[in-house]
Point group: C2
Chain length 209, copies 2
Amino acid sequence: MRGAERRRRPRGAVRDGLVAAGLELARTGGPEAVVLREATRMVGVVPNAAYRHFADRDELLAAVSAAAMQELASRMAAGVARVPGKHGDPAAARQRLGAIGAAYLEFAHEEPGLFATAFALPQRHAYGAPDDGTGRDRMPLGQLRTVLDELVDAGLLDRRRRDGIEYPIWSTVHGLAMLTGQGPLRDIPGATRHHLEELTFSFIEESLA
Amino acid sequence: MRGAERRRRPRGAVRDGLVAAGLELARTGGPEAVVLREATRMVGVVPNAAYRHFADRDELLAAVSAAAMQELASRMAAGVARVPGKHGDPAAARQRLGAIGAAYLEFAHEEPGLFATAFALPQRHAYGAPDDGTGRDRMPLGQLRTVLDELVDAGLLDRRRRDGIEYPIWSTVHGLAMLTGQGPLRDIPGATRHHLEELTFSFIEESLA
DNA sequence: CCGCTATTGTGTACAGTGTCCACTAATGAC
DNA sequence: GTCATTAGTGGACACTGTACACAATAGCGG
């Protein structure tokens, strides 16, 4: 019987496999490419099996989106960690801010499918690690906040200007990633793109100064 | 016969109707909602008729996207035109810059579907009205350039900083529209959103100063 | 150890989509 | 007026998401 082979998989294997498969699909084709039936095929299971783990395709996509966001967060954390220098060192603080932005843009450029998927939330689903201290560095916004606080401690950013400034900065970098990634500026040559990135970084620094 | 009713429509009526129908679908549901068969239904024509005017669904979507972009450009132009004051008047120039950004964000918020569709180019298709003088004010980037030039003429922006600065500014506003529209910040209350907009505007002005 | 129940995967089915092919009626050039 | 081109029709196919009924397994209480 076919059924004999049925429950050989460990506990959450199918669900995890579906998310992994969805991630793979999203990597090459963006959110549109994460098609439920294809994901189940990759896991080696019948289409309807997915409905034991997700209410519908949007819920699967939400899980994939969250995974993609985690991937972005990881790369940002790695980029920041690569900058030497102790907390309070002004030069290091400035470099860390640059590293965050660079990692963000690098991810958007190297993994356009995952980047688009990370920000394609198909339905409301909480995100962003608000002011909860724990796990602050696990999400993009949290990491940016940490670095901005360090800039304040290092004396490079006026404490009175600190409040809420993560949003304009995030917007600027995110907007550039969108415009040069999936947006109208997507076909500009690489050199031009780098030039725009430098322009954007100095624009931000100019505003912080 | 059915066929007797066939070619009663004026010349490009079906094509225009399809774009209009697609625009209507996009308005309420974004790019995903512009489904070819539904558009043909709205026009009162059989699905395959669309293929006489568009190679495939993506080409229809591209036309709808372009129309949505035109709509955005119109609203921006209207917003700028509403600001009184002659060219060279510093106060007017600054207000016009604000009006451009405000119109952009207002459109993104009031017509999220059209905004998303305008920036969801399904395939390469030129855009942006480069340095071609004619029709400069018909596209978002061109309008922004015009206002920035006015800021230079009014002495509010150092001419040496003018080159390319439209991109960071566009990025900032576009990024905010994305994050607060379809992105992770989409569920914040209206008051908070307005606060973020003000923060963002002063962030930009701070960088220009 | 046995039987019960919730869990998880299967099979079948249906509506809706994009798109292909062959066909046909109207249009406009000659 | 003939006739090729254009623009719409009709039918078909593969694929999608999803609903319903069913079956096999796992883990439980006894």
